[in-house]
């Protein structure tokens, strides 16, 4: 019996585990805050990237479509939020209005990209999506003349944080004797959103649409013969993945208060794709692990490599950023050579790779 089978047969163990994890998650930000608010911010970004990875997992893991420009949807969501809640156009709509608009905008972009290109074969689709991601970024970078929409490379700042009435997510408050800083408030919101997204993903996987995605991934010709409108179903995957990206982007803009095209470059798309691949494509839990790993390890490295170099060599030989990217690139190569199914692949994925 596998670990998860054992869990299913022992409800007491399962529920005790869940309660323990829940307590740990609720207490986590305060523990992190003791080491510095930066670590709460890092965790928040990690959760955001996990949301992105779960969104991309629908496209890459469920439907088997290669998307190398996913970060564009994140960017669309972020800029929509920034344009509707900042001094840029002096609009200050509430977040519960903007986030759905952002999701919709990203969804539209997803459909625009997918409609003509989903019939393309694997690596061609990858390159086209990459090109699309770059085009979107170039537009973000240049839509400052003649009408200043995105404020070009300088980006948009002083973005409104989430507010509900007088409760602002960026203000420090003291409740129940505990100090809730802005990042800590966002943490709980992000955690709730993450749980919702996980539930949505689990439900999608075990549904008529989820089975259709898997059928298309297995054998597109047979899927068509069974009456599956493969173009429409693939487009659905694209649109869903894009919407998740859009929502995450909106939250990013509000949390950080400032966005610029720099956050939406190709490397970020590669990063999100790596989280999905590393974790184990198609497996929701594996993808979460992959996302958390790829978000936290570089930060940990940054805080250890720097002092380590200084103590060993007396100075900084290699910048932490370079070390991070170098290890990332090597990790990608080594993963594909030795464990292409990812760290925690879905059983289906393991079978697929065992065949080939």
């Amino acid at each position: 019996m596998t670990f998860t089978d054992k869990l299913k047969t022992n409800p007491t163990a399962l529920w005790s585990g869940v309660v323990l994890i829940a307590c740990a998650l609720i207490a986590l930000p305060f523990a992190l805050a003791m080491a510095g608010t930066t670590w709460v911010r890092v965790t928040n970004l990690a959760i955001l990237f996990t949301l992105l990875a779960l969104g991309l997992n629908i496209v890459v893991g469920f439907a088997g479509l290669l998307d190398l420009g996913y970060i564009a949807f994140y960017g669309v969501g972020a800029y929509v939020y920034a344009l509707l809640a900042s001094p840029q156009f002096n609009l200050h709509l509430p977040f519960w209005v903007i986030l759905p608009i952002g999701a919709l905008a990203a969804c539209v972009f997803g459909v625009l990209l997918g409609a003509p290109t989903l019939k393309l074969r694997g690596d061609y689709l990858a390159i086209v999506t990459l090109g699309f991601g770059e085009i979107v970024r170039i537009f973000f970078n240049n839509l400052s003349q003649p009408v200043n929409i995105t404020n070009g490379p300088q980006g948009i700042s002083r973005i409104d944080p989430f507010t509900i009435g007088s409760f602002s997510f960026s203000q420090n408050e003291v409740l129940l004797g505990l100090n809730f800083s802005g990042p800590i408030k966002y943490y709980y919101l992000l955690l709730l959103v993450l749980i919702a997204v996980i539930v949505i993903n689990l439900r999608l996987e075990d549904s008529r649409i989820g089975r259709a995605w898997q059928a298309i991934r297995e054998d597109e010709v047979a899927a068509q013969a069974m009456g599956i409108n493969t173009t429409r179903i693939k487009l659905l995957a694209f649109a869903m993945g894009a919407s998740f990206g859009g929502v995450a982007g909106g939250m990013f803009a509000a949390m950080q208060g400032f966005i610029s095209p720099e956050s939406f470059v190709l490397v970020e798309s590669v990063m999100v794709l790596s989280m999905v691949v590393l974790g184990g494509m198609g497996n929701i839990w594996g993808v979460i692990v992959g996302a958390l790993l790829l978000s936290f390890v570089p930060e940990l490295l940054r805080h250890t490599v720097d002092p380590l170099q200084r103590s060993l060599f007396g100075r900084l030989i290699v910048e932490p950023e370079v070390v991070r990217m170098l290890l990332f690139g090597l990790a990608l190569m080594l993963m594909m050579l030795f464990r292409p199914a990812g760290l925690w692949p879905s059983k289906v994925r393991q079978r697929e790779l065992a065949d080939e």
């Binding site: 549904s207 008529r208 069974m226 599956i228 493969t230 065949d355």
Partner: protein, 255 residues
């Protein structure tokens, strides 16, 4: 008996090769219709044109009284024609049950919102899909193998699974491409029983086959293709004596 499928003057070229040339045939409701001919005669090409994988260069189909306008392959299943493939095309890494459940896709409706919200309607539909899939596996004799992964099934079971999956689409016409290929005599006999049962239960069958014993015993009528042309059509007994057919299979007289 009424006509279910009417193929008129179907033509298909691939570059210089005329794979199908003015093929006309009719299949009646409730028949078992066989399509035979030497290798390369165009039988699978005909299937592919019928099911929308290729577009016919000339001619057209009527299905159940209406013209069959297929602009995308998936619409054929919607119209009521399901097929199996010459080289089995199962969803290899899904279980047998899941394969058949995918077959129910075309007759069910739950979409994204249904999947996410899981309202009462969606839950009921999912239960119905499960039950029907289990029933179909039982129908073809694979009830015990529902949770096994498709590619690990023995060859004969894989063929039967493909039939169950096709039946899940509630077809009016079931088109089978060499269903008995690679089967021994016992398996072929079991297959024959299954196919006759499918016909009795209301589905018309069109099959491509090379196993002459099966074809002659099972089919009500046969068409013979050779080099893209139909060279004979009729009851099995008549066709097997047709001179053109014999020549196609065995070659002409020695001079």
């Amino acid at each position: 008996m009424s006509i279910l499928l009417d193929a008129r003057d179907i033509g298909k070229r691939f570059g210089g090769v005329e794979a199908l040339s003015a093929i006309s045939l009719t299949i009646e409701h409730g028949e078992i219709y066989g399509l035979i001919g030497p290798n390369g005669a165009g039988k699978t090409t005909f299937f592919n044109v019928l099911t929308g994988v290729y577009r016919a260069d000339s001619g057209g189909f009527s299905f159940d009284g209406a013209p069959l306008n297929v602009s995308a392959p998936h619409q054929v299943a919607v119209a009521g024609i399901a097929r199996t493939f010459q080289n089995i095309r199962l969803f290899a890494n899904m279980s047998a049950l899941e394969n058949v459940m995918v077959g129910r896709h075309v007759r069910t409706h739950a979409g994204i919102f249904g999947a996410i919200l899981r309202g009462a309607g969606t839950r009921a539909e999912e239960r119905a899909i499960h039950e029907r899939a289990r029933a179909l596996l039982d129908y073809v004799g694979l009830a015990a193998r529902g949770n096994e992964i498709a590619h690990s099934l023995p060859y004969g079971d894989q063929r039967r699974l493909e039939i169950a999956r096709a039946l899940a689409t509630d077809p009016k016409l079931l088109a089978l491409d060499e269903p008995a290929a690679g089967m021994n005599a016992t398996e072929t006999a079991t297959l024959r029983q299954l196919l006759e049962r499918i016909r009795t239960d209301g589905t018309t069958l069109l099959l491509i086959e090379h196993d002459m014993k099966l074809v002659m015993g099972l089919c009500d009528r046969i068409a013979v293709l050779d080099y893209g042309r139909k060279i004979a059509e009729g009851a099995p007994a008549a066709v097997r004596k047709d001179a053109a057919v014999i020549e196609a299979y065995l070659g002409g007289e020695l001079a």
